[in-house]
């Protein structure tokens, strides 16, 4: 078995990789299904939510809310070292994201004119947390804590009820540690519909964040506009920049740490050393043998794994900026001095020891990141995603008199005489 090797111009390499995802063939049917679910929840509220939960999750709900008793019991069940690690991650996420808090501003550009921008947290946010094997307590912290720091007044969580009634204790503990106010045991498109439109029990939120399966992602797209949503994440990606002399075992392990996520995951090595590329490729297949999620990782590596050969460090960065990877490792000894060459990436891991999973779990940087090349225009989830920037302006009568001529010229030029008149009237009348 081997990885695919690529070399050539940026556009040839981009074409070969095809970051863009194709819409699955059954998307139209899913769109219709989800649209019907949303309509039912809007019409029937809690009753529809309960019926869909019975149908999709096989669980009959009395109460949509996860009780305090269940949460307390989760704290009793959780392994102490897991709780401790979550608390440590929480502290680091808080200390990193607190730097993202924005200040408003106010200025007085001329006599009688005041302008400003005030930063206001969203009122209510809903965080979706998948069930089953994709149920990650670390993601609960990553989605909830930036909203908390922003000052969001109410944060609620939606997660499907487990068939056996036993929740993942780490999920409930992470939610409580992060400051979630209410946990609804509701999942799927019905959860997204309830979050967007509200039911008898569930108050509608202003924004929905968090990962989910195709039902959830499709529902989020459909309710967008009624509420805000985060980006719909594609497969996880890592891009590693390395030169001769780098440790192939480290690089192989990091490529595999992405590959083990799912069979669509993408792992790229960009190097100017054929020898390093060959050594990494060999290490990847050696390490694969002992990986618990070997089947998944192997398929991802064989189908999407790439070793891209560049002719210089400068070309390595050009290629990587065009790929705009979700995670970027610069596995150079003096990595920090190359940071200003990074134009597109979700999160950057500097130096040979900064393995990407450090960011997934503990460093405090966010692990909700732009995928599929969207780092060209999008950023990691952060405090800025949970605030509004509200503009304000005030003109005195004298200031309006000074500005009136220019406003009327432009309004009339655009054929909007009513605009001109509203301003002219302020000049003339008392």
């Amino acid at each position: 078995m081997n990885m695919t090797w690529l070399t050539g111009s940026v556009s040839e390499i981009l074409d070969a990789i095809m970051l863009e995802e194709k819409e699955p063939k059954d998307q139209a049917a899913l769109d219709n299904n989800v649209s019907a679910i949303i309509q039912e929840v809007r019409t029937l509220g809690d009753q529809a939510v309960k019926e869909y939960t019975e149908e999709f999750d096989g669980v009959t709900l009395d109460d949509l809310i996860v009780s305090e008793d269940i949460i307390t019991e989760a704290f009793e069940r959780i392994e102490p070292e897991v709780q401790q690690a979550l608390e440590c991650a929480k502290e680091n996420i808080l200390s990193y994201h607190t730097h993202q808090l924005e200040q408003g501003f106010i200025d007085f550009p001329q006599t009688g004119v005041m302008r400003g921008q005030k930063i206001v947290p969203l009122t209510r946010v809903g965080v979706y947390v998948p069930g089953g094997t994709a149920s990650y307590p670390s993601s609960v912290l990553m989605n909830v804590l930036p909203a908390k720091i922003a000052g969001v007044k109410e944060i609620v969580m939606f997660t499907p009820p487990p068939k056996d009634g036993v929740f993942n204790a780490a999920i409930l503990v992470a939610a409580r540690l992060a400051g979630v106010d209410t946990i609804y045991q509701v999942g799927g498109a019905q959860a997204i519909a309830a979050a967007a439109y509200g039911t008898q029990t569930i108050r509608p939120v202003d924004k929905i964040v968090g990962p989910g399966n195709r039902f959830v992602a499709t529902a989020k797209k459909q309710v967008f506009g009624k509420v805000g949503i985060d980006m719909i994440a594609g497969p996880s990606e890592i891009g590693i920049l390395a030169q001769a002399g780098a440790n192939p075992a480290y690089l192989a392990a990091d490529l595999l740490s992405q590959a083990e996520h799912d069979t669509f995951a993408r792992a790229f090595l960009v190097t100017d050393s054929k020898e390093l590329g060959e050594a990494v490729e060999k290490e990847v297949f050696a390490q694969l043998q002992t990986l618990p999620r070997k089947e998944i990782a192997q398929q991802a590596i064989v189908e999407q794994g790439k070793i891209i050969l560049a002719s210089s460090v400068s070309e390595m960065f050009t290629l990587m900026n065009a790929l705009a990877p979700e995670h970027l490792e610069i596995a150079f000894e003096d990595a920090m001095s190359y940071l200003d060459q990074v134009e597109n990436a979700g999160s950057v891991f500097l130096g040979p020891f900064t393995s990407e999973p450090i960011g997934d779990y503990l460093a405090g940087t966010n692990h909700v990141l732009p995928t599929s090349g969207t780092a060209r225009f999008a950023s990691a989830l952060g405090v800025h995603d949970f605030v509004k920037r509200i503009q304000y302006v005030s003109y005195t009568k004298e200031a309006v008199q000074q500005a009136s001529q220019a406003i009327q010229v432009l309004a009339n030029k655009e054929g909007l005489a009513g605009h001109a008149r509203a301003v002219a009237m302020r000049e003339e009348q008392k």
Copy 2:
């Protein structure tokens, strides 16, 4: 004729207003049309762009780029007072938006750990400018200048070619004043496709902003993901808060300045004074008689205009925050002292003299604003829409050793042994 009066609870009033827009019946057909156009442009490039321009705009293009000669000639044609007003607006937009520039940060939370966030402007941005009567030079400034301040390296503009070959001089002048690098005489869905995917002549951009007709809006939705887009704007809205003693003529003029935009425009007065509401209603219909765009404004006022009667100032703010208007006027003498009660609004106009058109044209605040209640989670266009926030982190070997235990606990808890191993390996090996 009269406006609709409403009173009651927040939810009753929201239900009566129905901010949410219904998808037009022919949207599915339009989706298919637009999807075909995008596919053609991706396949055939310039040739497809030229064919669609011939079909939709009735213009045969030799060159997709508006020449320097045409731009120079626009500066000769433009009325001096219009150019002067545009220059004045530009200065104010620059001075306001410069306050929005973000700084990155860096911190060293413990020995051997460095974390930070750097702010990087987008590389290439495309600004769409409609043709015909919706072709507003003020909007060119509002869309381009924040990108310029952000430091975007290349800003290109797309606008349909006029049938008679004579461009709106003010549009070209505004583009040049704002610092647009290249103007393409291409409009419609074909412009959006070319901007997103590139052609032989047009390099693909990273984000597309600017208003457009239904073809343009549908195309923007379809290319979202490949490129970033701004929000798709709904009908323009104004919400005015006023009490007894306010000048009814001012308020009526401001309601009409929104209503004249189009027949779907929304104008709301929220007051605790029935007398004021009646006086404003009377003024609205009196002023309508002499408005050049009377037919449009009258339909908007009769169909969507609302006078909402509240029982107290506190209830006035509760209602208005639930409506989350694009433009909010607080027509109180001491308006500034109520600013902290505003939770949801795109842009706030304080005091009886601050007529909303001041913000449309001259104050320097942005006039690209969230509509249809989306101000609950979205904000005015600004510098922040044209940057990426790139995270970075660096751990020394010693710092990894300290963190390793917690990372492995969480990774193993989530079933991702490859993550644990990549970190453990850094501890053990040289």
